[in-house]
């Protein structure tokens, strides 16, 4: 691999090392000042000859996972380890006073903490830790630590809680109703100064984004469809609950935490405890899934840290399943009022979405507008998002937040429009293909959605008629997806060459189970000219690894990959310079492959191992940073999914027979792992479409299905035949690896593809998820 070693710095002048750039994170754009990398690698375009990137390399940590050797947070033990458990509120709104003394008397209990025991206010996403003002059911109130987990739970049970309950504000409509009590004192003062405005509207609600003039667009339309769609609260339900093990050594704190964001947790812990970031070390080795829920320090983190400091012993605090389902974030529900206008030829003239989103007691503006703004070409688009605080647990990011909800509404409405027009739904989507990023009025770095349509339709045999009659009706449907998965800075990596020629790659990202470790090893080995088995990736440790952002927003491959590549090329440059000294040839005549450095005429070779032997104590350290994103282009991943279903018209049961998914995420670093991401996204999307729904008692604000029996996630028996195709065309404009993100995109179109197939099967539109048997029967009944 040739290295571009041009020194762009001018002698005598300060080089420009930092630039301002924008990065799209979970659908929102952030502006950052970032460091320029030391060198700018030659992009891996379609002609790049790559040997390891693109291979179906086995997942590097699979052997330890199948052997049960992979250690997760709850598996960790430390000498003298204590166990902590958290008391959570059984009311959703009101006040509580606690008598902790009975818990202290329980055998095995060593310490109990409530609000009175905290020496400073610790802010969580849902409010202050152990607040005696209760604002949602499941709110943490106190923590007990004991010799055993059982004793800690007995201690929790012994705490006497006296509640003064008030009726909770449990829905969007209740929150914005006249006279509704103030749910939460907003930390951000809204821009709108209107005394009639509900105090429970969050942020700048309503958040209006408009291009063109939708009134004119609707006037120009030959056909207008108006629909209301509703989506449920979905719960992440990672198999591994949130958990932490905290241990103090003097005034230094180490926390093993199941997290997608070691540096963010460190920052929050340091801030919360009033200590410096250098006194806190966060380690995440393996984690049992996150899906967006594990991005912050939680009550369990602070409970473990504070109890460990008070007792002088390490403390483990792991959520039980009820806490995990109740209070670790969720995908919020939505009500979306959608209007689409189109000309007779199918061209969209107007897209309107008004969405109401109850966030819970905390969260951020993760609404559905993005899909409406970005998916289709349309001159007149207006989205109005209203977010409300309600007395339910805080929402948080859940795999493609907003877009999953928006896709169901937009893509269902597109099918409704197609029916009105008497047009094939796929044809309607092709007609309205967005050549450009119309939301920002700029081109996309690459958009191969039309190829996704072509290949998906061919593979699915979209034009074939599905014979359907009798009790079981068959139907087909499809839906498309856009997601800003370009990644971006900051991400850093260090490549250390060891004395035997092997390499350690240090980067502060996390592997949630997506396979980051494997694909980063492939990128490092490729760029370094090493063998894959000689490269080890070290992740998720604030003390060992350089800063990298959270693993969210489908950002890791496209953010960390380039930093790793630059660091590996930096290390290679140094290896070649050292080899030049040993082989007595110019470095420019040397290259490396499979851990062997050779001259261009093959006259001299030396292995990394021999070279490192000769170098003795020389430490080769490669350093890499993720440079800024290109300006003036939109970066997004695209895809289309096609679903075939059978619907039992007597019971309302839906059987998904087959899903064909074609996605465009630029270069695919490892097809096997990428396919796994797509399959996983589809299966979660299928759960969202068919059965997943948090059930809340509106009177008490309590969740009624906070377990894995009553909250249904897909089992192996629910999975249809899934056929995945990845276009695998590099996008060297996006970044020099040519890869974009793929973790979130595949969950986006699954539920609407299924819903459209169901509508096709039974001849009735489905306006509310999940598509439970009683909703299907209700739809059939209402139409007949």
């Amino acid at each position: 691999m040739a290295i571009d070693t041009r020194d762009t710095r001018e002698a005598g002048a300060f080089p420009r090392r930092f630039v301002t750039t924008t990065v799209e994170v979970e659908g929102r754009e952030e502006t950052k000042v970032v460091e320029l990398p030391e060198h700018d690698p030659i992009p891996w375009d379609e002609d790049a000859q790559l040997r390891i990137v693109g291979q179906r390399a086995p997942r590097v940590d699979a052997p330890e996972k199948v052997a049960g050797r992979a250690r997760y947070t709850a598996d960790l033990t430390r000498p003298g380890l204590l166990h902590a458990a958290i008391l959570r509120s059984s009311i959703a709104r009101g006040r509580v006073s606690l008598d902790l003394a009975p818990a202290r008397a329980v055998a095995g209990v060593l310490d109990v903490i409530g609000s009175a025991e905290l020496d400073r206010r610790i802010r969580l996403a849902s409010g202050a830790l152990f607040d005696t003002t209760v604002s949602h059911a499941g709110q943490p109130l106190a923590a007990v630590c004991a010799d055993t987990a059982d004793a800690a739970w007995r201690g929790v049970d012994a705490i006497v809680a006296r509640y003064e309950p008030e009726p909770p504000v449990a829905s969007f409509d209740a929150a914005v109703a006249d006279g509704a009590p103030t749910v939460r004192r907003s930390s951000k003062k809204p821009a709108i100064d209107d005394p009639a405005r509900s105090p429970n509207l969050a942020f700048g609600s309503p958040d209006v984004v408009e291009r063109g003039d939708v009134t004119r667009g609707l006037a120009e339309a030959d056909v207008v469809v108006r629909r209301i769609y509703r989506t449920p609260v979905q719960l992440h339900t990672a198999l591994e609950p949130h958990g932490a093990v905290a241990e103090w050594d003097g005034d230094r704190l180490t926390i093993w935490e199941s997290t997608q964001a070691v540096f963010r947790v460190r920052e929050q812990v340091a801030l919360g405890l009033g200590i410096s970031q250098s006194s806190v070390r966060i380690i995440k080795e393996h984690m049992g899934g996150g899906f967006g829920a594990k991005t912050s320090a939680g009550a369990h983190t602070f409970a473990a840290a504070i109890l460990a400091r008070r007792t002088g012993r390490p403390v483990r605090c792991v959520n039980d399943r009820e806490a995990e389902q109740t209070d670790t974030g969720n995908r919020p529900s939505t009500t979306q009022r959608v209007t689409l206008g189109a000309r007779r030829d199918g061209r969209l003239t107007a897209i309107v979405c008004e969405a109401d989103v109850p966030l819970g007691i905390g969260g951020w503006e993760g609404g559905p507008a993005g899909m409406f703004q970005e998916m289709y070409s349309c001159p007149n688009v207006r989205t109005v998002e209203s977010f409300a605080w309600v007395n339910t647990p805080a929402m948080t990011a859940f795999r493609a937040p907003g877009h999953v909800e928006g896709a169901f509404a937009l893509e269902s409405a597109m099918d409704a429009l197609a029916r009105e027009l008497g047009m094939d739904p796929l044809k309607l989507r092709r007609i309205n293909f967005a050549e450009r990023d119309e939301k920002k009025d700029r081109p996309f770095s690459s958009n191969r959605l039309r190829e996704c349509y072509d290949r998906g339709a061919a593979r699915f045999d979209w034009d074939a008629k599905l014979p359907s009659s009798g009790r079981w009706r068959r139907g087909k449907g499809m839906a498309a997806q856009v997601w800003g998965a370009g990644g971006g800075p900051p991400a850093y990596a260090i490549v250390k060459i060891n004395g035997d020629g092997s390499a350690d790659v240090l980067t502060g990202t996390q592997d949630l189970g997506t396979g980051s470790r494997t694909i980063l090893a492939q990128i490092a080995a490729e760029a370094l000219g090493a063998r894959l088995q000689d490269v080890r990736i070290v992740l998720g440790d604030t003390e060992r690894t350089p800063y990298t952002g959270p693993s969210w927003g489908s950002m890791t491959t496209a953010s960390v990959g380039p930093a790793v590549r630059v660091a590996a090329e930096d290390a290679l440059r140094q290896l070649l310079e050292a080899a030049s000294e040993v082989l007595d040839v110019e470095p420019s005549r040397l290259s490396a492959r499979d851990g062997v450095i050779a001259t261009d005429d093959g006259s001299g070779t030396i292995t990394f191992r021999s070279l490192c032997d000769r170098l003795g104590d020389v430490m080769i350290l490669g350093r890499g940073a993720r440079g800024p994103n290109p300006t003036g282009v939109g970066l997004a991943s695209f895809g289309a999914q096609f679903a075939e279903v059978e619907v039992d018209t007597e019971t309302g049961v839906i059987r998904v027979v087959r899903i064909v998914a074609v996605h465009d995420a630029g270069r695919i670093i490892n097809p096997t792992l990428a396919e796994a991401q797509v399959e996983g996204g589809i299966i979660q999307g299928l759960g969202y479409g068919l059965f997943e729904e948090r059930v809340l008692d509106p009177a008490t604000g309590r969740m009624l299905n906070a377990n894995m029996h009553d909250y249904k996630i897909p089992t192996i028996g629910d999975v249809p035949r899934i056929e995945v195709e990845l276009l695998d065309v590099p996008d060297p404009t996006a970044n020099h690896t040519g890869a974009r993100g793929l973790a979130e995109p595949p969950i986006i179109p699954t539920a609407p593809a299924i819903a459209n197939a169901v509508a096709n099967a039974i001849g009735v539109e489905m306006a509310e998820l999940p598509l439970t048997p009683w909703r299907v029967l209700g739809a059939i009944g209402a139409s007949s």
Binding site: Y72, D75, A238, I683, Q684
Partner: protein
């Protein structure tokens, strides 16, 4: 109580209300079986207990009272890899990438081993039936089906079928 775990006889002091999962994890430090739902709904805690016919059966160790397994022989994921290497199903899980986060994987592998002990050539339907008590949130199911077929084939081959 006496319990044989991964072929080793253990004499244990066990509280009457301890679950098999607690004993394995906290007393024997075998952490391959995972606590996840802790009420027999997800299968992450699956271990194998030898039945009367000697064939292993999957047990949700999180809701199994330890004392009910007095003198029984338990196999955990740690006991599946022997000196001759990993079990063919473990190898197949790696080969077919039937692993993402890996948290449910020990339970999935053991449930699959129990299936293959009863049915050396399971149909897709038999696999779905046997594995439906082991949940995976990452969505490795399609690859688990492939891995089980692959291991079944390899095991039949090595048994001279």
């Amino acid at each position: 109580m006496r319990l044989t775990v991964n072929g080793r006889i253990c004499q244990l002091d066990v509280a009457p209300d301890s679950t098999l999962l607690t004993v394995l994890r906290d007393q024997l430090y075998l952490t391959g079986a995972k606590p996840s739902c802790e009420r027999g709904e997800c299968g992450a805690c699956t271990v194998l207990v030898a039945g009367p016919d000697g064939k292993p059966a999957p047990v949700y160790s999180c809701i199994a009272l330890a004392h009910a397994y007095e003198n029984d022989s338990v196999t955990t994921i740690e006991g599946l890899t022997t000196s001759s290497g990993p079990h063919p199903l473990q190898a197949a899980f790696v080969e077919h990438d039937a692993v993402q986060c890996g948290f449910c994987t020990p339970g999935q592998v053991l449930a699959g081993v129990a299936l293959l002990a009863r049915d050396p050539d399971p149909s897709d339907e038999a696999i779905v039936q046997a594995m439906s008590g082991n949940l995976c949130r990452c969505g490795t199911y399609p690859k688990i089906v492939r891995a089980i077929h692959s291991a079944a084939s390899a095991m039949r081959g090595s048994n001279g079928d």
